[in-house]
Amino acid sequence: MSFTTKDVVLKEDRPKSLLLQKHSDYLASYGLNKDDYEYCMTEYLRMSGIYWSLTAMELMDQSSRMPKEEIIEFIKSCQDSESGGISASINHDPHMLYTLSAVQVLAMYDRLDAIDVEGVVRFVASMQQEDGSFYGDKWGEVDTRFSFCAVMCLSLLHRMEDINVNKAVDFVLSCMNFDGGFGSKPGSESHAGLIYCCVGTLSICKRMDALHADELAWWLCERQLPSGGLNGRPEKLPDLCYSWWVMSSLSMLNRIHWVDKKSLEQFILACQDAETGGFSDRPGDITDPFHTLFGLAGLSLLGNTSIKAVNPTYCMPQETIDKLKLEPQILHI
């Protein structure tokens, strides 16, 4: 059973410096052509798309290039007056994922007054179940992602008292695994993306003490492959978005120094497309706003000073989090 590590090899002609201007141009033009095929086919996640682009632009201090008033109007039109929840786009149904994205965007714009906040709180609170878990919408899908959406959303609105926080924490903890990691529901395998959601939930609820920090952080730092990139589970290929899921979790655990920052930075930079701008999941793939945000946010965590500081729990500019006077917990070491 001979076997080689799954990884990529970085080419010599890869981008080695940060192409900020290119990325800002890429995001500014993304969605300008409303008939673009990719753009239309991703309508079902538009609200998150706006969050990815705006946050990336904010981190580059270029958010003035985004159509602010148009975005705020769009968000208003996506709130469902009955449930209070917000949908991905017009004519789509309200969902936790897009309710959070909308609240994050409005928080960055300091325009939370634009929507019916009571409605949002009502929607989020109505999704909590007896066991502390959260549905994504009224159709009953349970996932730790939705727990994170709930506490992030309500903490941004300073309305945590509207849910049962202890129960929410207990549910997340019931998803902990032998390796210290977390999956999407009780019994599910550990996965760096869901670890971020669960650690983030505990960080907001100030219950990081309940983690097995050393075990979890060891598992996380073992995600780093010889290329410098990080994967999301053992024996998987590296992917740029895990630079965020893993590094943000390690930041909350105060153990970011357990990975090799230099080689990770090289990997992230290699995921840039020097022609089109933007970042992709792996060097040589097609770029998208999702990976563009997580590439920039990852570099910010690594201490790149040409990008604004990002908050590891909220994946929003630290200045926004400071302004809202939020203090998500970071473990002592």
Binding site: M1, D35, D93, S188, E189, D260, I286, F290
Partner: protein
């Protein structure tokens, strides 16, 4: 968004593709418009089912379309019964199967399947289990399939032993199947807990797992899956929470615990006696959180010389432990508990660990640079007898820093942690003064177990590798008056906690800006040396 390789195409080819896409887009937009119109007009009928099915077949993640289908089926099932409705559910399952071929990771499609099976009256769970088996043959790591399997098992409740055996079978197919190791860990603690001893796994099974996982790890030492499982099995020991030290002075009374505990725990388990009278007061977390390692006890009993001070602590086995104290100088009473970081295994497991150590050493002789073998050898040594093997353990960790450079920071912190544990046991037994000073050659990079030293008046952390990220941890030094951080790597003091110091030494932190020190000076009125 994932795995789409950028390919270079000729202008001609690109134009052709663009045209194709525009065609597709037109069809898509028309269909979506039609669907939304019908929904607005409450035409929840078979036509809408068909329209939405067509769009989903190539775009399974458009969640709203699945919602529409559920709305339709919910209406249908009010009027239609028996075979006809059953066929509609079958068709729905068929559609999800088709969608999962397009995208095996579509959350929506998987959830629709669960919805159908829990909504219909006649679910065929065995068929679903077979489907899982098939899907896991195609991709043994798809966590959606594994989650779906757990969902089915939770519904039809087959004997768990069967699921445990399924993981064995999967693992003998391929030891590199982390998903199967994961599932196995869940089954193991469920099926074979150690009810009498309070350990996570019953003895004979603990031993059996150790054997099996070592066999797996040795089959291919470069594959990581088995090593993670092994590390867990090695760590599967009973852990308890203890009161490690209490400090009573005229100014402040504190209690430090081995793990974070909440107010209810502290209140119900801990009792402070002065001259045989229970002291009443209020508990405050040192950091201000719900759970904390150090608790401050606010009370009004005057603390003077010549008092009889003791603490009662109720242990996990409900036995009450009396922790006496030693008097230090001016009305200060400190009670240290016995501390040990040694893992407690049964004799049978210790024997097995020694066998494994032997095999590890043999393997290491053949491949001295094998990271996983060296790491496991080191952990097994630590588990068997941390004190006896301390030197070898530290030597190995230094070697690992060289072999596995990417994780040098991890090994540094582990060296610190295990060295501190060594010193702590000694300090708690023999050290009679209220000073903590690193007494080993390694330079420490973090501050594990610092609450154990909460009783100290003087903390000397000079000449170490400490960076600014450790500063918030210093908050447990509630009785410290003299703190030295001389010759470290501090870069900022922004997160320096509020402490009742007389003297703080910050000399030799070359990257620390002067204005940071000035700001600290303004905030606190203790002496700062720099």
């Amino acid at each position: 968004m994932h795995g789409r390789v950028k390919v270079r195409t000729s202008e001609e080819e690109k134009a052709r593709k663009d045209k194709e896409k525009q065609e597709k887009l037109k069809v898509f937009k028309n269909a979506m418009q039609r669907i939304q119109e019908k929904r607005k007009n409450s035409e929840l009928d078979k036509e809408l089912l068909e329209l939405s099915g067509k769009v989903l077949s190539s775009n399974p993640d458009i969640y709203t379309l699945w919602n529409i289908r559920r709305e339709i089926l919910n209406i249908f099932r009010k009027d239609i019964e028996g075979e006809e409705m059953s066929q509609m559910y079958d068709a729905e399952l068929h559609l999800t199967e088709y969608c999962l071929k397009v995208n095996p990771k579509s959350y929506c499609a998987w959830h629709q399947r669960e919805w159908v099976l829990t909504t219909r009256a006649d679910p065929d769970w065995n068929k679903e289990l077979s489907l899982c088996n098939l899907y896991l043959k195609l991709d043994e790591r798809n966590f959606h399939t594994w989650d779906y399997r757990r969902f089915i098992v939770s519904q039809c409740k087959p004997p768990l032993k069967g699921e445990f055996d399924f993981t064995t079978e999967k693992l003998y197919d391929n030891f590199s199947n982390y998903s199967a190791w994961h599932y196995r860990s869940k089954m193991l603690v469920e099926l074979y807990p150690d009810l009498q001893g309070g350990r996570p796994i019953e003895d004979s099974h603990h031993k059996h797992e150790l054997k099996m996982v070592q066999n797996a790890a040795f089959t291919d030492p470069d594959d990581t899956s088995a090593w993670f499982y092994q590390r867990w099995v090695l760590g599967a020991v009973k852990t308890t929470i203890s009161l490690v030290v209490y400090t009573v002075t005229p100014f402040k009374t504190t209690f430090a615990f081995s793990k974070d505990v909440n107010e209810e725990f502290v209140m119900s388990k801990t009792r402070l006696y002065v001259n045989n009278e229970i002291v009443t007061g209020e508990w405050k977390s040192c950091v201000g959180n719900q759970y904390d390692l150090l608790w401050i006890f606010d009370h009004t009993t005057p603390i003077k010389d010549d008092l009889d001070v003791k603490v009662e602590f109720e242990k996990e086995d409900k036995c009450t432990q009396i922790i006496p104290c030693t008097k230090y100088g001016n009305s200060t009473y400190i009670g240290k508990n016995e501390v040990s970081f040694q893992r407690q295994y049964s004799q049978a497991v210790v024997e097995e660990l020694n066998n494994q150590l032997e095999s590890c050493r043999q393997l290491l002789e053949m491949e001295p640079d094998s990271k996983w073998t060296l790491l496991t050898t080191t952990i097994v040594l630590y588990c068997i007898d941390a004190k006896k093997y301390h030197k070898e353990v530290i030597k190995n960790l230094h070697l690992l820093k060289v072999i596995d450079k990417l994780r040098a920071g991890y090994y540094d912190d582990l060296i610190t942690k295990w060295s501190i544990e060594e010193q702590l046991c000694l300090d708690f037994k023999t050290n009679e003064c209220r000073l903590f000073k690193v007494a080993f050659d390694e330079r420490i990079s973090c501050l594990p177990h610092l609450q154990y030293y909460s009783y100290c008046e003087e903390i000397d952390l000079s000449n170490q590798n400490l960076s600014s990220k450790i500063l918030p941890s210093l908050v447990v030094l509630q009785h410290c008056r003299k703190l030295s951080l001389e010759n470290n790597n501090l870069t900022t003091l922004g997160n320096f906690p509020s402490l009742d110091l007389r003297e703080l030494n910050l000399k030799g932190n070359v990257n620390l800006a002067k204005n940071e020190i000035e700001m600290l000076k303004e905030k606190y009125n203790y002496k700062i040396i720099y």
